[in-house]
């Protein structure tokens, strides 16, 4: 499985050649982060550390340090989501994929750091990590696909930090209910915004399974907000979810 990751860096006016060269180096670092994450965590590669862990070829202690870090964070996400995100309850063994994509993209974003960088976006197939803003100081605007009408956007968000969206409205996106052990999703899509994309990714996954009652585990989390779109098209969100004002109405 391949994921295209796109990276946009917004710079102040008049970036010099030396600064472009520096940004290229930072891009190389971002690429290494993404490639390395794929090498370690791809469940599609039979000899990746995560695959070997899943097949009990190696133990957790024998796996690379990143695996331990990710599993620790998955445990935290499992607790914060009230068990609705649970990589240990996946068929086939531990599967942190719902966390890793966001984690890798967030780490890739960390490669970009310079005074002339006004903002940056790392977009991993719809899971987005960002820093800063547009050149004019306005926040990045991110559209959320309408799960019931994929030709349209359901909402637009003023983004500070990260956004992840999880959903069940398409084949291949089997959301497993950790409590039932089988595919079951109670929302057409769930979007979570917050400072860390890895956690947002995991929370969105859990929320799409839990449905509207799951908003209860997002509300107490400082700086994390969520939006659920139901199978009937209804929207529910946490109080601080950063919907952007937009001209006109988005067609439903």
């Amino acid at each position: 499985m391949g994921t295209i990751v796109t990276i946009d860096v917004y710079t102040a006016a008049g970036v010099t050649d030396a600064e472009v060269a520096e940004l290229c180096e930072q891009l190389d670092r971002a690429r290494s982060v993404l490639h390395h994450a794929d090498e370690v965590f791809s469940t599609w590669q039979p000899h990746s550390p995560i695959s070997r862990l899943r097949s009990a070829e190696i133990t957790r202690a024998q796996a690379p340090a990143e695996v331990a870090e990710v599993l620790e964070r998955c445990a935290t996400a499992r607790d914060l989501s009230g068990g609705w995100f649970d990589p240990w309850a996946m068929p086939g063994g531990i599967d942190p994929t719902g966390y890793v994509k966001g984690w890798a993209a967030q780490n890739a974003l960390a490669a970009f750091s310079a005074e002339y960088i006004v903002g940056a976006i790392v977009n991993a197939a719809g899971d987005i990590a960002s820093l800063g803003s547009l050149r004019n100081g306005e926040p990045f605007r991110i559209g959320i696909v309408d799960p019931l009408a994929p030709r349209q956007l359901a909402e637009i968000v003023d983004l500070t930090g990260a956004i992840a969206t999880s959903g069940s409205y398409e084949r291949g996106n089997h959301l497993i209910d950790p409590h039932l052990g089988c595919p079951c999703a109670r929302a057409a899509s769930a979007s979570v915004t917050g400072p860390d994309l890895g956690l947002a990714d995991a929370l969105a996954t859990g929320l799409a399974v839990a449905g509207t009652p799951g908003l209860a585990f997002i509300e107490p989390l400082d700086k994390y907000e969520a939006l659920i779109i139901g199978f009937d098209g209804s929207r529910r969100c946490t109080e601080g979810f950063p919907l952007a004002p937009h001209q006109g109405t988005l067609p439903h």
Binding site: V9, Y10, A125, T165
Partner: protein
């Protein structure tokens, strides 16, 4: 707004990074040095191999950065230009997006190539979802957004190929 897309060609295990610099001044122009970026060799990447008997329409694009070099952006009269994004995975196979722009306005979005491996359910997806996604892309430009977040594997793949094609045109 000047864009200097630096395209990193090639992938390792299916990930590729595309960097676009958005700077404040200087006129819109295509990159002179897009081809000069280090193309990391192998084109092994997001493009799945076609299944037996799979439907394949149009020319497929290699999943490497070379598809985003200026030479792939056909120059036509009156500033109308087209580009094709890289092949990306979607739920039933592989597709690439073709976009036509005039200046900074998207005129047309379509599928350049699609390979669904002969999956019988994919015909419905191809016939229904793809045209819808094409419409969405044109619609999205009126909302001045910098990205799309969605749970759909198809729309994510489609959006990514489209974004990459737009980058090569420096027209987003």
């Amino acid at each position: 707004m000047r864009r200097t897309p630096i395209v990193i060609g090639g992938t390792v295990a299916g990930l590729v990074g595309v960097l676009a610099f958005h700077t404040k001044s200087a006129p819109l122009s295509l990159p002179a040095a897009a081809g000069a970026a280090p193309a990391a060799g192998s084109a092994a990447g997001p493009a799945a191999s076609p299944g037996p008997g799979g439907t394949r329409k149009g020319a497929s694009q290699p999943a490497s950065g070379t598809s985003l070099s200026p030479s792939s952006a056909a120059q036509q009269a009156s500033g109308v230009r087209t580009a094709v994004g890289p092949a990306v995975n979607y739920s039933y196979g592989v597709l690439s997006v073709k976009v036509t722009v005039s200046g900074r306005k998207i005129l047309r979005v379509g599928i350049a190539s699609i390979d669904d491996g002969g999956n019988p359910r994919s015909q419905y997806i191809d016939e229904q979802s793809i045209p819808m996604l094409e419409q969405q892309a044109i619609q999205a430009q009126s909302y001045n957004i910098q990205g799309v977040s969605g749970a759909s594997y198809t729309s994510a793949g489609f959006a990514q190929s489209l974004q990459s094609a737009l980058r090569s045109l420096s027209a987003k």
